[in-house]
């Protein structure tokens, strides 16, 4: 479903939401706990959770874990129209290629956040959604 989600017009996440392809449990079962420890909640959240996805530009909005917040944001995205033309997808291609070039050697989300210019990356998981969005407004990849 991670692929289907990224075929949607817009993605709204909360920090607790998880968006990826293979779940940490599957990776751990297949490749061992050294590869991905599915019981390390902090690691799971900063890898596939909403804040990291928002920073990478994989999610379009990050909201509090609250149904009204989701609803409000969903209404704001009703007219979102992705550009699926050759030109639009060429841009997306450049965007994704740039990500591999900039962060391909990072071992942890904290490395990526630091490279994005976030001052104290270890503090990001502590912030409420609104504070977080304000703190990273000029840092996230667009």
């Amino acid at each position: 479903m991670g692929i289907a989600s990224r075929l949607c017009d817009a993605i709204i996440m909360s920090e607790e939401g998880r968006l990826g392809l293979s779940g940490p449990e599957v990776i751990e079962t297949t490749c061992g706990v050294e590869e991905f420890d599915s019981r390390d909640r902090a690691l799971v959240w900063r890898t596939v959770g909403g804040k990291h996805r928002y920073l990478l530009g994989e999610a379009d909005a990050l909201v509090a874990d609250d149904i009204d917040a989701f609803r409000k944001q969903a209404l704001a995205f009703l007219d979102a129209k992705p550009d699926l033309s050759l030109e639009g997808l060429s841009k997306e291609h450049a965007f994704l290629g740039d990500r591999i070039g900039r962060f391909g050697d990072c071992r942890d989300a904290l490395d990526i956040w630091r490279r994005l210019g976030v001052d104290k990356p270890e503090n990001l998981p502590l912030l409420e959604a609104e504070e977080f969005c304000a703190a990273v407004a000029d840092k996230r990849v667009l």
Binding site: G2, S5, R6, G20, L21, E25, C31, L86, L96
Partner: protein, 234 residues
């Protein structure tokens, strides 16, 4: 089957294919004209780089060779299972590949998939399964997910899953099941260049997999449920 032997059999009139690690692409000659080829070897795990590269190849074909048919020869054990690929958003790269293939289709490129060895999970979903018609060689292996992982996620004991996979086409490995479900249209036997010529000449009927799955008894409900949803929405 080895990819190089396969290419010789598919394109007896010649082909120019460049191999680079697990990836290859290029052009094959057929009586119906040139066919673009994109593929992978050695049951490649499809990670962000490989998905990105395949998507780039599709975009280039659309840009430089309008209308040229695309043959996908993807041999994959599935998406690369790694913390790093998840960290970089591998699902976004897979979705990007899917979008590029759809762009090619709507821009007038025929897309033919041939599973010549292995096709598993996300690596199959975002490649051959998105072709107009997906074909397979008789000894190919198609699988939705490996059973130990499925057992971990569903919390159904592995022994029970092995038992079920003997009778349920939905998650049993092997190509016959995917044939019955309609995801694979037919098996290519005999002269492969002839099979390719037939596939290139086949009419574009849109996505008929639900219908095939129902007719073949491997996917009994999907068509009728989808029709009811469509009717309710209309």
């Amino acid at each position: 089957m080895d990819a190089r032997i396969l290419l010789d059999q598919l394109f007896p009139a010649g082909h120019k294919i460049a191999f680079d690690g697990l990836y290859f692409d290029g052009v094959g000659q057929t009586p119906q004209g040139e066919v673009a080829v994109i593929g992978s070897v050695d049951a490649a795990p499809i990670g962000v780089e490989l998905a990105f590269r395949m998507a780039g190849a599709v975009l280039e074909i659309v840009r430089l060779h309008p209308g040229r048919p695309i043959l996908l020869l993807v041999d994959t054990q599935g998406q690369r299972l790694s913390h790093r690929d998840e960290l970089l958003g591998i699902n976004g790269y897979m979705a990007h590949l899917a979008k590029c293939l759809e762009l090619a289709r709507t821009s007038g490129h025929r897309i033919i998939g041939l599973v010549y060895s292995q096709a598993v999970s996300g690596g199959f979903l975002a490649s051959s399964l998105l072709s107009d018609r997906c074909y397979a060689l008789p000894d190919a292996q198609v699988q939705v997910m490996n059973l130990p992982s499925m057992s971990r996620i569903t919390k159904i004991p592995l022994e029970r899953l092995k038992e079920l996979s003997q009778t349920s086409p939905v998650f049993a490995p092997g190509v016959q099941n995917y044939l019955r479900m309609g995801a694979v249209y037919s098996l290519w036997e005999g002269d492969l260049s002839q099979r390719l010529a037939e596939a290139l000449a086949a009419p574009d009927e849109g996505d008929r997999r639900r219908k095939w799955g129902e007719e073949r008894g491997g996917r009994k409900m999907a068509r009728s449920v989808a029709d009811r949803v469509q009717h309710a929405a209309g």
